[in-house]
Symmetry: C2
Subunit: 129 residues, 2 copies
Amino acid sequence: MDESKRRNTRQKDAVRHALGEAIGFVSAQQLHLVLRNFGSTIGLATVYRALADLAASGDADALQSKDGELLYRACTTDHHHHLICRACGKTIEIEAERVEKWADEVAKEHGFTQPTHTIDIFGTCLSCQ
Amino acid sequence: MDESKRRNTRQKDAVRHALGEAIGFVSAQQLHLVLRNFGSTIGLATVYRALADLAASGDADALQSKDGELLYRACTTDHHHHLICRACGKTIEIEAERVEKWADEVAKEHGFTQPTHTIDIFGTCLSCQ
DNA sequence: TTCTTATTGACAATCGTTATCAATAAGCGG
DNA sequence: CCGCTTATTGATAACGATTGTCAATAAGAA
């Protein structure tokens, strides 16, 4: 799809908005359910498409849950990582400049180019212990 | 299943061995195909079960590929992370003591207990550029 | 060897995600 | 505002990875 020919639809806005309201990471299926409960007639496939678009354009970030589900979250800052409660899903965005550098260095040391990385920390938060 | 009543079977050994021979991460399906090509009559479900066991007992580690497939790799050292070529899948085990500490500290700072983490670095290796 | 039961393997079932495709509607030019 | 083009939608089918089912098999103890 040519970026210049992308259209704005009420469905995409709905997904963007619902994702913004959500706390922590949510799956496409959860989001779809929420939207339907609010009276939207949006289709499941459309939610998947909208989320994939948001992730591709950097407005959301995605991670894989332990059981293979794709989870999304509205993204505020540019690049960051997450500290996630494994019980309630509460998520804290963390700065990791030191680690960013370390990751890029390790890649370079071994001759790997265009390094990217995934770093997530899981734990049990205060209110869930 | 009670750990003390676990039996050793030629199928489990076959999976263990095939995983040891494999370079980088492999999926259960790939491993099943390889075993069948070598004349084994092992079932797909058995490969899944054996790999899950190996991962649970710490003899293999698992990660999720970008498209949701579970990938396994024979595990030599205790705890480590990976530098993975996104083209050919070549994998280098990396030490990350500094980062281990950092991850635990970040968790503790926010009151999170029992911290675990996932750290993987992706890049394009020399021979794939 | 015999017996118990963990394990196997073929297959069905499940679940998340993606492809298909006719119907709809965004946004352009007039 | 009116058509027209075509990106987008939504229902549903298809897909692929994984897990459950269950009768048949075989490990390992007696």
